[in-house]
Amino acid sequence: MGLKEFVKKSFSKSPWVVHYDCGSCNGCDIEVLACMTPIYDMERFGMVNVGNPKHADILIVTGTVNEKNKDVLKNVYDMMPDPKVVVAAGICACSGGIFRDCYNVLGGIDKVIPVDVYVPGCPAKPEAMIDGLYKAAQILKEKYSRREVIVSAKSLG
């Protein structure tokens, strides 16, 4: 295995996850945290829950996006260094769910930031979350190999 292959592999083996609660009912949040418990143990894939978007590769968002927190979500996304992947966890983050017609709800988080993986469910099961995060890690590797890095950095200005 050459050095370039090792670098690519390291992106799929070491995705650091930052979790942002975008106004969720706490159902999905608890399931995200359950992924770290001994039963599910997401660290066996190298996934670490970091609190700092500057260290993260994957942004996992739960809950609907509304007028109040859309700027915060955009901020968290912009603070992450490229390459980065976004996972929408739970039906609220995917499409707005049952709250999509509320007066202040914009809908799914894809109205604000580009989403790569959708994990449906109310709440999404930890198995489904880990599956989604694993897919996100593969997408992260692909993004690095395609060098999407420079393009997206420019588009953010």
């Binding site: 390291s10 770290m36 001994p38 143990d41 066996r44 190298g46 609190g51 500057k54």
Partner: protein, 287 residues
């Protein structure tokens, strides 16, 4: 310095991060097993660092980057000088220069997490730097020199300085920031002050600091190993055993307060050093 010295210096500088990364990987695996999890692969720290090195460069200001490089440089130099058996006092001072830059680099940014983390790192330095000097005083008392070559020719320091060995183990625990001493920043998934002193470092520069931490970890383990320099394999086993005890303490204890750390480390450090040297003094007189 002869050509052999240059070669040993280069070999130590190249091999040390590999050893340090492996030890860190084993640490994460053992921690996971203690917590009843499966845990990441042993090569996980290498994946992390390689990934961080190839991520986008994101900086707050230039000085912070300069500080990260100086921290790495001083860690490399101190390990290199240790490998060619230079003066131990000088090695400790070189290490401290890097740590000062590590703190200043965090203070150079405006993030409050980073600021508080830097203040706490200063407190941690205040707790273990005097103890390191005490350890050196003990070694000087036995070997009559700060030169590593003379200290190592003594053979089995552990039999003469058992309490000072305990003090150095305490220094190791404070230095690698395991619970109950993880104030300025903490291991993965613990999240003290977001990431404390490392909050404003991202991408490749975080990787530099990670590599420098590996160097310092190996340096401290090597300092523990020279307490049995007659046979360095046994010395290495002793130091790895101390590291294993640190992992267990990390998993069974909670984070304490800074005040407790200061009083605990100074009381243990000063009393153990005085007891050990007094014992040596009186046993020499009676002989």
């Amino acid at each position: 310095m002869t050509w052999a010295d240059y070669l040993i210096f280069a070999a130590a500088v190249i091999l040390t991060p590999l050893i340090g990364g492996l030890i860190t990987g084993l640490d994460r695996k053992v921690t996971a097993l203690i917590q009843g999890r499966y845990g990441p692969p042993v090569l996980q720290p290498f994946y992390d660092v390689v990934k961080l090195l190839s991520k986008e460069k994101m900086i707050v200001n230039d000085f912070q980057i300069f500080a990260a490089y100086i921290y790495l440089l001083s860690a490399i130099l101190s390990v290199g000088f240790f490998a060619i058996k230079a003066d131990l006092l000088m090695i400790i001072f070189i290490m401290s220069i890097g740590l000062v830059f590590y703190v200043i680099g965090a203070l150079a940014t405006r993030s409050p997490y980073s600021q508080v983390g830097a203040q706490r790192e200063l407190m941690q330095m205040l707790a273990y730097e005097p103890l390191l000097i005490f350890v050196l005083i003990g070694m000087y008392y036995v070997a009559g020199s700060f030169n590593l070559h003379d200290i190592m020719s003594h053979g089995r320091l552990l039999l003469d300085l058992p309490l000072i060995f305990v003090v150095l183990s305490l220094v190791l625990d404070i230095k690698i920031k395991k619970s109950p001493f993880d104030f300025s920043t903490s291991e993965h998934a613990h999240q003290e002050l977001v990431r404390g002193i490392l909050t404003d470092y991202a991408g490749p520069y975080l990787a530099l600091i990670e590599i420098a931490d590996w160097y310092e970890l190996v340096l401290l383990l090597a300092m523990l190993a020279i307490f049995w320099s007659q046979n360095l394999v046994i010395g290495a086993l002793i130091s790895l055993f101390v590291f294993f005890l640190d992992i267990i303490v990390d998993n069974i204890s909670a984070r304490m307060t800074l005040k407790w750390m200061l009083s605990f480390s100074w009381i243990v450090g000063i009393s153990f050093t005085v007891l050990n040297i007094a014992y040596l003094y009186f046993s020499n007189v009676s002989r």
